[in-house]
């Protein structure tokens, strides 16, 4: 008797709880974010895991993609409300047709952050290829035409004054293909992400001769959405950016600190790295390597976005009509820097 009364009470409590959570969920607005399983999108993952989106009344659903070009396509088609990924020529071609607007920063190449390495094969090194100025006339393996690697060699060329058209770009469509061509010394050099670069070096396939961040800091990735969402649901975008920036702040505190080029573990490091490892479905040790620089307030290097558009247009991969100003909406984040006059 007592037992059944107790059970009834428990059921009542459970029912109430269920009802409360149901009402709660109703207030939550669902938003979908397209991104890749990379630590460069760590701010989104931290913001989600720590409930920053919920604080803003947003139920953020993360949709993971396998290639950078799929994310802007998903935002264009409406399958995702927001996108966070690397900036490619394909992105600018889509954005230039009025389908996307950049509203904040993702990660960037920054001095002291080892993200992407310039590598030369042993054979090329024996032939005297030891310096970053020596790229002219060489064969460079990249993933795809118009990729972030392609832009990286473009700005390196501008820095060291060689013609980027004198470098033979060999697009191999994927990192495994790129690594295979490098191992077989089918190319002279490559630009590879830190994990691939370290492995290639450990296998004795070649050596690292520099880091993109040290040579040419640039705005690697961005947070973007559709112009439609901005005009129709501006408040939602504002809430999203607020939560995103809070995640970026946590990321910054935990991972961005450096002391004489050495990584310093900041406050909340252990918690943040565990959250990232969980979201990325990778062991903690692997996540530790190659954490990129993420601006604490999601501020963009605006001048570099202009520069990217100009570079792609100079190699005829982005349409001449694309205007960098038209694809940026700088009103959501304060303090964007390097603004062109």
């Amino acid at each position: 008797m007592i037992l059944s009364r107790f059970a009834g009470l428990a059921a009542l409590v459970a029912l109430l709880a269920l009802d409360a959570s149901g009402a709660h969920a109703q207030q939550m607005q669902k938003v979908t974010v397209g991104l890749l399983k990379l630590s460069s999108s760590g701010a989104v993952m931290i913001a989600r895991e720590k409930g920053y989106f919920r604080e803003q009344g947003l139920d953020a659903d993360l949709k993971f993609f396998t290639a950078a070009q799929q994310v802007p396509v998903a935002v264009t088609s409406g399958d995702a409300d927001f996108g966070v990924t690397g900036l490619t020529a394909g992105f600018y071609n889509l954005a230039g047709r009025g389908a996307l607007k950049i509203i904040g920063a993702q990660s960037r190449e920054e001095k002291g952050y080892q993200l992407n390495a310039y590598m030369v094969t042993n054979k090329a090194a024996e032939g005297g290829f030891a310096n970053l100025k020596d790229f002219a006339g060489k064969r460079l393996a990249i993933t795809t035409t118009g990729s972030t690697f392609h832009y990286s060699i473009g700005i390196l060329a501008a820095k060291y004054g060689f013609d980027v058209k004198s470098v033979t770009l060999v697009p191999l469509q994927s990192l495994p293909n790129m690594a295979a061509a490098f191992k077989g010394a089918q190319v002279d050099a490559t630009i590879a992400p830190v994990t691939v670069a370290r492995q290639l070096e450990a296998e004795g396939a070649g050596k690292i001769i520099g880091w993109v961040g040290d040579e040419t800091p640039w705005q690697l990735g961005a947070l973007f959405t559709s112009p439609k969402l901005i005009t129709e649901k501006r408040a939602t975008v504002e809430k999203f950016v607020r939560a995103y920036a809070k995640g970026a702040r946590d990321y910054h505190l935990a991972f961005n600190a450096r002391d004489k080029g050495q990584e310093v573990r900041g406050p909340g490091y252990d918690e943040a790295i565990a959250l990232l490892a969980k979201s990325l479905e990778q062991p903690v040790e692997r996540v530790r390597v190659g954490l990129p620089y993420v601006d604490p307030e999601a501020r963009l290097n605006v001048g570099d976005v202009y520069n990217q558009v100009a570079f792609w247009q100079s190699v005829a991969l982005v349409d001449r009509t694309v205007d960098a100003k038209a694809i940026l909406d700088l009103s959501f984040v304060k303090g964007h820097f390097n603004l062109p006059k």
Partner: protein
Amino acid sequence: MSEARPVTFRGGGFVVVPKKGAALVAFVGLIALWEVSVRFGWISPIFLPSPTSVVEAFWELAVSGTLWLHIGQSLKRLLGGWTLGTVGGLALGFAIGVWSLSRAVGLPLVSALFPIPKIALLPLLILWLGIGETSKVATIALGVFFPTVIATFSAIDGVPRNLIRMGQSFNLPAADVLRKIVLPGALPGILAGFRITASIGLILLVSAEMIGAEHGIGAFILQAGNLMQTDQLLAGVVMLSVLGLLIGTGLNRLERRLLRWR
């Protein structure tokens, strides 16, 4: 005695009657509908560029001369890879079809190796054969080889046994049985296999040209996709379709010539 009653012919059901122009009308109608949908904004040009913009992209390619470069490079790879795969496939297919020992060994091997996706092997192919023409031709040859083997030995299995037994009971030498009975009997099946492998070759062109190709229809399609230049992407796809159509027509001619005995 009774009056002859006129009987209408009722047995004409499902006879294929050539309808000239019907295909053309259907094609033109579809393309017109497509163009109109984009023009009136029912479909966003970001998702589906209009036929005129595809034609424009095509025209630009033709004028600049890169079109021929792409087609030339791809044809070379296709021809090389298809020939290599077909010759190898025919040889093994015949061996499996004719000799029991090679069947016992070859059949399980083909079953085990056929389903391996060629794209998954690309890094290995690059390591073994480099990123020059060899690995591109090999990708196509590998894709063509296995279906040819299967088409060939299945065609040989399909040759009526009683014809072979008749030849043997007339004391025809084994070589003659093969040349005069098995080969012609298997030919329709083998040619049907060619139709399939020619299309497979075209499909694999895109995979083959993932390996650092500067020019070629596949390389062009890949680049257009990466750059989200959808009009050029579709222009590349049209190139593949036209090539497929031409190869199909060529095979029709070949079939008519080789199978005249029927």
